[in-house]
């Protein structure tokens, strides 16, 4: 029993998270009501946050919940409710001849990536950040933040620039009249 809790239970939970993520992703595509689509997407993002946490990426897991499932999805639902988009006419193609296109495209992409992942890389230079090394230097959040403010400081600052430009752009686009 203790063996199951230590070894089997995390893997079972992990597979449940993965399955739920894929099933809710199908819901995003298939459900016609945009509100149910958006709620399926929230479910996908929460499941992915669970997967991140089980892979010891705690900071990214928290960011996923706060920024993605919190801020971005609230924005989506806000716009859906604001414009009261119930159903878009001709949302799904009525022509039956079109249906194989997305299905074949999706399956082809999936199996392409499946083959690549299955083959594996021949050369993998393992980095210095083993679980033990990360734990010893103060945990995931500390290691990520130290890297972000040293090696990746320039992209970090550029990201601030991008966000302020995006704020101005979004306000300008949604404004009623440009003076």
């Amino acid at each position: 029993m203790t063996d199951f809790i230590q070894n089997g239970l995390p893997l079972a939970l992990f597979v449940i998270f993965c399955t739920l993520a894929v099933v809710s992703a199908l819901g995003v595509v298939i459900l016609r009501n945009p509100v149910s689509s958006a709620f399926s997407l929230i479910l996908v993002l929460l499941n992915i946050a669970g997967i991140f946490a089980m892979q010891e990426a705690y900071f990214i897991s928290a960011v996923q919940i706060i920024v993605y499932a919190g801020a971005i999805m609230v924005l989506f639902i806000f716009v859906i409710m604001l414009l009261s988009i119930e159903r878009v006419e001709l949302d799904m193609p009525t022509n039956k001849a079109f249906w194989p296109v997305p299905i074949v495209l999706g399956i082809a992409f999936f199996f392409g990536m499946f083959v690549v992942f299955l083959k594996g890389s021949t050369v993998a230079i393992k980095g210095p950040f083993t679980s033990q090394a990360v734990e010893a230097s103060g945990g995931n959040v500390r290691v990520v933040s130290e890297l972000m403010f040293s090696d990746y400081i320039l992209p970090f600052l550029a990201m601030g620039m991008l966000l302020s430009i995006a704020i101005v752009g979004a306000v300008l686009l949604a404004k009623r009249k440009v003076d």
């Binding site: 995003v28 900071f59 414009l83 878009v88 992409f109 990201m159």
Partner: protein, 105 residues
Amino acid sequence: MNHLGDPFIFPALITGAALFAIGLAGITLRRSLIAILMCIELMLSGVNLTLVTFSRANQDMSGQIMVFFIVTVAAAEGAIGLGLLIALYRNMKEVGTAHLNQMKE
């Protein structure tokens, strides 16, 4: 076959690939702009999942930092996309791609 030793890695990679493929299928299938935006978010999430998984498999933190930047760019993209959507709705009173063919005429 070195990165398949950990039992967590393969299901996560498959999930990432599946999310990307489902998002791609959704973009080609749906005709409503808000659904297309949500499918783009789905594809970005699949990529994020793959990056975090390989970051763990190769014991390298750069993947997680890249995911942080992708989430930030996704937030900017969502804000701009929804701003465009509101501007479009004000002019056209609908958010489908079926009648967006002014450039063609």
